[in-house]
Amino acid sequence: MPGSPRHHPLQGGWLRRAREFSGFALPGLFLYGVLVLVPIVWTIVLGFTDRTRFEPQTGWAGLGQFSRLFQDDQFWLVLKNTFVVTLIVVIVPNVLGLGIALLLNRESLLYRLLRSVFFTPVILSGIVVSVIWQSLLRPDGVLNAILVDLGVDSGPRWLSDPDLALYSISGILCWQMLGFCVVVYIAGLNSVPKELHEAALMDGAGPLRRFRSVTWPMIAASVTINTVMLLISGFKVYEHILVLTNGGPGRNATASIAFDVIEKGVRGDRIGAAAAEATIMLAIIVAITGVVLRLLQRREVHV
């Protein structure tokens, strides 16, 4: 019947597309909802309660948990630690990763092997990486033995010096994430059209000028990916701290927000306080990632 909504070409197409979309997307959306969204919402709700693991009665605490956190010096310390680690982890592997990618962006068996070598730490678990580094950084470990051989009186206390331990952990994270950045940058470098380099070369541009005017703008998407991934990795650092220092040396000298959340919630049984801190962590990550994404995506170039 002409004019019937059932035969309206646009609406029929919309319905069909919606049905198709639902068929493919609903299972995934359901799993995402159950495994990600529900726990996030539940955590946010718990942050407004005084829930503890063993107390049967849970009461509404309003903003009480948040206000206690903001008045707690230890919270500001773990927040500062988290920002320091994140800053180092965002900058160092990004810069070194780009440099190494430029060196490895050649075709031969050796370079392909080297790419695998750099990527290996990425596939190792944080626990394994931490155990390996723990043995290297022991007072009588390999690193200090080398330093002593080079004439240093006694090597640094990499993990037991409160002024150094946070940087040692950051260094290990950088080492582990470096391979990821290298691979992403190599993929980015491979996507730069050769014609652009050739044109720049014909215009008399030197290597630096070609990098600045051709390569750098064209790998902007890789910079975005690496920066966001490193930001998130820095903010959620947990297992390295657990294995290497357990939050020490001293009171929370290396504790991150993620570590403190687990400490409060699992060891300390204060579920409400842990949930409030996790909510703050979520808000910070969302805000910073959102701003960084927006800023970096502005300079992305698509050909």
Binding site: F54, S160, R267
Partner: protein, 390 residues
Amino acid sequence: MLTFETPNLPASLWDSAIARVSAKVPGIKIKKLVTPNVDRTTYAKQLASSGQLPDIMMAVNPQGFAEGGQLAEFTPEELKDYAYPESGAINGKIYQLPTNAQPQSLLYYNKDDFAKAGIGKVPTTWAEFLDACAKLKTAGITPIAVGGGGQDTFASMYAWAGVLATDVFLQDPDFNKEIKSGARNFTDPAFVKATEKIAQLSKLGYLDKEGTSRSYADHEKAFRAGSAAMYPMGSWFATSVDNDKPPFGVGVFAWPSDDGKAVVPNLTGGGISVSAKAENLDLAKKFALEWTKDKETADAFTKADGTFNTVAGYKPPADMGPLFQETLAVYDKAVKDGTVTPAFSIEQGDNGLPAEFTVPIQQIAVELLDGTSDAATVAKKLNDEYAALQ
């Protein structure tokens, strides 16, 4: 059944004990579960969160679980064979069998280092102890090993627990209770004075500060390799030495005090707890009680971990090694002299501090050992941390 494995307590020891005790409890079927690391309490909490609290748990701190109604209470009748049936009580009730006495800590020492430094006899007073440390340092030997690195922050406590035993808990065994009631706090002069002793050891360079980055296993290895002359440690170290002798002689003495009393900080407890929701509660409790009363199992654990079984009338195997015998003699003398005290941060139950306060205390202990915080700062930090938990 939730178990844990350490170098002293390997899988084979647990398996044979489970098989032996199961045979004595008809109808029971035990499925062994092993904690991923020595922190079995945290693992038990994770299991409880997902409704999987094991029916039977070995050496899990009952605090929190008990108040939350998750553990079964042991009756006075069931505890009648224990020498200290009220140890570890929570609100006056027992939720963990008080199976073992474990001095934590004693001072194990390298006899060769003492001889090299010209120390004729072990120190009994604090002044003699400082004198011994000075002689060791002069001889180029680091006097005291300390630990607490990696995940094993607990190992930072053993020196501090020693001086707090001599200077605080010997005079006032209820110190922890008074902290909880608000009658005292950590800036109490006796607490600060005892803490100052560790700060002084740190300042004088008597502590092997590198140890604060060593895991527990590496901490023991380092002492065995001669990193320091004295090793403040729990009594389990005795069997470790008896079973695997280091290349030097090892002796043991109690913590020296100002007036020469030999003080032993100690934890009696560490046994089995049973879930209140166990599928067959009676059978699970029967297994728990049989485990501690079974002489062969008690002997196996005594030999492996150097625990002093507190079931009345229990005698350790006659072939126990010399350091175990020496350690037991130090403990027995302290029991006789009335100088056994609660161990700070290790004591559990009504006379212990809240379980969630343990890690902050251990981390602050590292600052004390390291010299990054003095006694007054440590005391203030403890007060602040404790207040934050309330």
